[in-house]
């Protein structure tokens, strides 16, 4: 007996993440995932039994009739699901790549909560010294060229430390807590000190992971950011070093609890794979939950 579409749909409802490739608009990714899930959830309709069409020369055509009502037949009713609610978490612009959180059906509600929650995101930025463009990336019009021989790794790290200091100050200011209170101390101890809600973009962590002039790689954690802001950070780093830099790649490696290892690549965007991922995530959640304390005797 074929599995009903609604049961298959329940298996794919939930939150999961995909890897958005560079050069693709996030909406196309969302549409493609919706199409793939619809394909997997809807079955293929079958022909009603007893269809024969005799050719000419054998009298009138013969078509045997089926007894049941045809109004409920899949060819008349159509597929059970025509559209599915597929939601996207924090968006990525077209030239960035990385983890994109997707919610299906009932998973859209926790997606909303996740969106509101202020959790940090991990990015890997690749930059190049030597030229500055108007949109801070390689596709823009070059505005300035400069040399970069004088740039060394410790100079770069000094500039990053300065940036981190400024961002830390911004973090404290926007956390809306009086710094001299006990509450602020407790929040800082548990690591919850930070802006709750809207704030300008704040980098909570920043470090160099690769330096082969003119190319360098940065790894950072941030809050409330946009990819354009991150490219601007690279541009400003270049300016601080008395040179120029532009960003060649922005890659998100983590969005809240979703990391790049769990992300599904384009070849894996099928309903079966999505169901497997969600099941895996549910199992791991169940395992990590502490067991209920036994009732006191």
């Amino acid at each position: 007996m074929a599995i009903r579409a609604i049961r298959k749909f329940r298996w794919v409802e939930g939150l999961f993440c995909v890897y958005k490739p560079p050069g693709v608009h996030w909406k196309l990714v969302r549409d493609r995932i919706e199409t793939c899930i619809l394909e997997g959830v809807n079955g293929t309709p079958s022909l009603p039994p007893g269809v024969r069409l005799l050719g000419p020369g054998r009298g009138p055509t013969e078509l045997t009739l089926s007894a049941s009502s045809l109004a409920a037949h899949p060819l008349v009713r159509g597929p059970e699901f025509r559209r599915i609610k597929v939601g996207v978490g924090h968006r990525l612009d077209a030239s960035s790549s990385g983890v994109l959180v997707i919610g299906v059906g009932r998973g859209n509600k926790p997606l909303n909560d996740l969106y509101q929650m202020c959790c940090t995101r991990d990015y890997t930025l690749e930059g190049e010294f030597g030229f500055a463009t108007d949109n801070f990336s390689r596709t823009g019009r070059i505005v300035e060229r400069s040399t970069y021989d004088h740039v060394t790794r410790d100079k770069l790290e000094k500039v990053l430390a300065m940036l981190q200091q400024a961002n830390q100050k911004a973090l404290l200011i926007h956390s809306n807590v009086d710094m001299r209170s006990q509450e602020a101390y407790e929040m800082a101890v548990t690591g919850e000190l930070g802006p709750q809600g809207k704030s300008p973009p704040i980098l909570t962590g920043l470090r160099v992971t690769g330096f082969q002039p003119p190319f360098f790689t940065l790894e950072l954690q941030c809050l409330n950011e946009t990819q354009r802001y991150l490219r601007k950070v690279v541009h400003e780093i270049g300016l601080e070093l008395r040179s120029t830099a532009s960003c060649t790649a922005v890659r998100r490696t983590r969005d809240g609890p979703f990391t790049v290892d769990q992300a599904l690549t384009r070849g894996q965007w099928t309903a079966a794979q999505v169901a497997l991922t969600i099941q895996h995530y549910n199992n791991s959640k169940r395992q990590s939950r502490p067991l209920p304390a036994p009732a006191a005797l």
Binding site: Y19, P22, L47, L53, L63, H73, V76, V260, G267
Partner: protein, 421 residues
């Protein structure tokens, strides 16, 4: 008896028009009431009485065989000005003809009712009726006069149920504007059957019929002489009968185009590509939708190939013979893929001409695979060098096969690499 019946009929119909509640329901009352709002005034001005009687008896028969009733009433709103004449054209049962006459008469009574509002008679709904009248009252039909789905009519309509049994996707067709109405108005024996038999004569398979009708329901409205003329034209151009059948199955709109238009297209392809007639036939037989679509995008694509991409005439001919789909591909996609192949991957012109199917794949796929091979150090596209990788294997193989055969790596490695891009 008849006249009293008529009077009561008139009274009830007018009362129904005024007070929307009526426990005495007549077959046509609710339907026609909705009709009346949208329909132009009928031309009939002669004695409504005769028509009503005529109609009355046949309605009674019609209510017992409820098959044809819904058919005409669905067509109420969408093509309402044509409705009376349409009924005359289709060879339906006499009852449906009479039903339309009833509608006209009903409209008449309504206009009469509008004129003499002062002398209106208002019988109450709880008025007792005689047994004779009770036996003549009709049961309200459950078919709606208008609906957004063919589901409500499929059991009643012979055309629709036979189409479903053939495998036609009614749910797709009803989403297109006016197609549902058109299908309901068709008569199975006179409209649908001759054309299905014609298609079968041509050699179309039963499964092909469902595909053609799901894509192009308007073939059921085409004149049979025109259809025959077009097929004969194609056969005169030396397309074999099996080829013609396969072309029609794969491009369902083909037979909707006039002979002149088909002729124009064939001549265009022959002239633009500079091929002889048998080769042109081959291309058109493999991709029949070339004859259906507009020619402007094809001209644009050929211009792009010649000028921007720099392919010579014979190279374009060779590529189109191998992959006719090139002619209808997006020019932006062509230029992007060519740019990446030629400038980034440094693939020569002659190799691209040899494997034009690379233009069918997505740019992202080619990029990912090339970068993976580059990372592994095995990106060799020059046919003279060892470990040469041909473009068709790069672009057309599925991921598993590509990883094991071409890249000598596992699929997991490829996935991990994709996530570093």
């Amino acid at each position: 008896m008849a006249s009293s019946c008529v009077q009561q009929l008139c009274r009830r119909s007018t009362s129904h028009l005024r007070s929307k509640t009526s426990c005495v329901t007549l077959l046509y009352s609710t339907h026609v009431q909705n009709h009346v709002a949208g329909v132009r005034t009928a031309d009939k001005t002669n004695a409504g009485g005769d028509l009503i009687i005529h109609g009355n008896n046949s309605i009674f028969h019609a209510s017992q065989t409820r098959q044809q009733v819904g058919v005409c009433y669905y067509s109420g709103y969408n093509a309402s000005p044509l409705l009376p004449t349409e009924h005359r054209d289709t060879k339906e049962l006499m009852s449906t003809d009479a039903l339309s006459q009833i509608k006209d008469a009903q409209h008449l009574t309504e206009t009469n009712a509008r004129l003499d509002t002062d002398e209106a008679v208002y019988p109450s709904a709880s008025e007792e009726i005689t047994d004779k009248d009770a036996s003549h009252t009709m049961v309200l039909s459950t078919l709606p006069s208008e609906s957004s789905s063919l589901r409500d009519y499929v059991d009643e309509s012979e055309t629709l149920s036979k189409l479903v049994q053939l495998g036609v996707k009614l749910w797709k067709l009803e989403q297109r504007p006016n197609v549902g109405t058109m299908l309901l108005k068709l008569d199975f024996q006179t409209d649908v059957v001759p054309r299905l038999l014609f298609l079968k004569e041509m050699g179309v398979e039963d499964s092909g019929l469902a595909y053609i009708l799901s894509d192009n329901p308007f073939i059921l409205k085409e004149d049979l002489e025109n259809l025959h003329a077009r097929v004969n034209y194609l056969k005169s151009q030396k397309f074999s009968p099996e080829t013609v059948a396969s072309m029609v199955t794969r491009a369902p709109y083909l037979l909707n185009f006039s002979v002149k238009r088909l002729d124009n297209r064939l001549a265009f392809y022959q002239q633009q590509l500079g091929l002889n007639s048998s080769k042109t036939r081959g291309i058109v037989a493999r991709l029949p939708r070339l004859l259906c679509g507009s020619l402007e995008p094809v001209k644009e694509t050929l211009r792009v190939c010649k000028i921007e991409l720099g392919f010579k005439e014979n190279e374009i001919q060779h590529m189109v013979m191998l992959v006719p789909k090139l002619l209808t591909s997006n020019k932006r996609k062509l230029t992007q893929i060519f740019d990446y192949l030629h400038n980034t991957m440094k693939v020569q012109h002659h190799l691209i001409v040899k494997f034009p199917q690379v233009f069918n794949s997505r740019l992202l796929r080619i990029k990912e695979r090339h970068l993976f091979l580059d990372y592994l150090g095995t990106a060799q596209y020059d046919s003279d060098q060892p470990n040469y990788i041909s473009l068709d294997r790069l672009a057309s193989l599925p991921d598993e096969a590509f990883c094991t055969e071409v890249a000598s790596a596992t699929l997991e490695d490829f996935i991990m690499f994709q996530k570093t891009m």
